[in-house]
Symmetry: D2
Subunit: 141 residues, 4 copies
């Protein structure tokens, strides 16, 4: 891919094609080769039963941002494994996920992500995660 604004446009274009991401209000804030930042506003629709952000959506945010980071270096990819550590109750007006590529590769791309809850302007780390993605070109039919 070309310069940074091309990368950002490209990732935003993909994000807009994914119904689930749109439904959750996920927005691509920045994207450059090897790293992507995603934001999502809090919504009562995304709650688990205690009123915190649902751990399933925490994982979806992490997996999505990791996937986009992998796309910036490897084109189309599929997630084959990811893990999520929920460090603290995820409570905030919005959530910011920052992912980067730890190690690119032809058969596997390793990525890592940190998820922050933003509350009255200050960020708190609420979850971390890692994802392993396979470029579609090298995956099985």
């Amino acid at each position: 891919m070309g310069d940074s604004s091309d990368v950002l446009d490209f990732i935003r274009g993909i994000n807009n094609l994914v119904p689930f991401n749109r439904r959750c209000g996920m927005e691509v804030i920045s994207a450059e080769p090897g790293s992507v930042t995603l934001e999502m506003p809090w919504s009562g629709d995304s709650a688990q039963y205690s009123g915190f952000l649902h751990a399933g959506i925490i994982g979806a945010l992490i997996e999505t941002t990791c996937g986009f980071a992998a796309v910036t270096v490897a084109g189309r990819v599929l997630a084959t494994h990811y893990s999520v550590s929920c460090l603290r109750p995820a409570v905030g007006e919005r959530f910011v996920a920052r992912a980067h590529v730890v190690k690119p590769g032809k058969t596997q791309v390793f990525t890592s992500c940190e998820l922050y809850a933003v509350r009255q302007g200050s960020e708190k780390l609420v979850a971390t995660g890692q994802a392993l993605l396979v470029p579609v070109s090298s995956s099985e039919a």
Copy 2:
């Protein structure tokens, strides 16, 4: 908890309180002490960009079903870690997640889950996952 129908009612009650689960159409099919089965219909809203089930929703289904299985033995819990292996493209008319408690405990409950895609009546294993949950009574304020 009392007999199996009490457990099923209890887990269904929680599921109905979770906006995200309702929005996705998650339904509790069975629940007994130590194991829970959840079902979710396919919906275009749950797609990633290739038209398969979004890996984030795969994880949410696994994490949710694991959490419910833990609830049947430990009461209210919070997920602190989970991991998801996406074995095959998740394509089907509906998805069935079966979770069970691997090891209960006062401070940590270990659970495991298998996710099947149902297509024209036949099931195919599409993902597996594990979740670690902490009973709320023993978690930190």
Copy 3:
């Protein structure tokens, strides 16, 4: 590979080539296409500071047995990711690890393993784990 005894011989041959496995006393008990069982005697040399089996060796046993299971279906492989859940203190006269292939594949082989401690003839599940392996033929130089 040919019949089951060929597979067993082949896996035993690899195990004997690995200094760490020999040093720990790891022995291949059974091997057939898709599944392998490994055994290791307890030794004071394998203790962590409480006298239980060291969590690092628990992981090594799980990773090794998963790797061997992958070899039975995919030839030479490299582990790229694995995870270990330590369910209970691992105390026993010997340890038995049983791994199987969950999903084979040209670029990734998914495996799973259960580790049992044997004490006075009875087995207890003490740890579980998953490993993702890449056939060397498809890995990067």
Copy 4:
């Protein structure tokens, strides 16, 4: 714990009590509240069958260093879950593992680790990992 040299002495003391760590030649290079660095020389005894560092020992190094980092903030702990990403073949004269506490807690301590291979004086990141540890005081009998 008191000042940094007390912490270093304390962690070194534990390390010396663990037979497996001694056998592998693991040495505590630095330790302060929340972070620990461990070193291990290469040895043919630690090889897997291609001559790289055995993935099981990679995990053991990561788990051990994470555990020590947790000890600096939480006293005696037990690892309940850890995961290992093997990014590149681990080849070097020695290996340096750097772990830090991501989030301390009364019931769970989250840690993260990076493992570097040192070759002719230059370091290369070869693996990453995360471990979840439970303070013994809050674990089950």
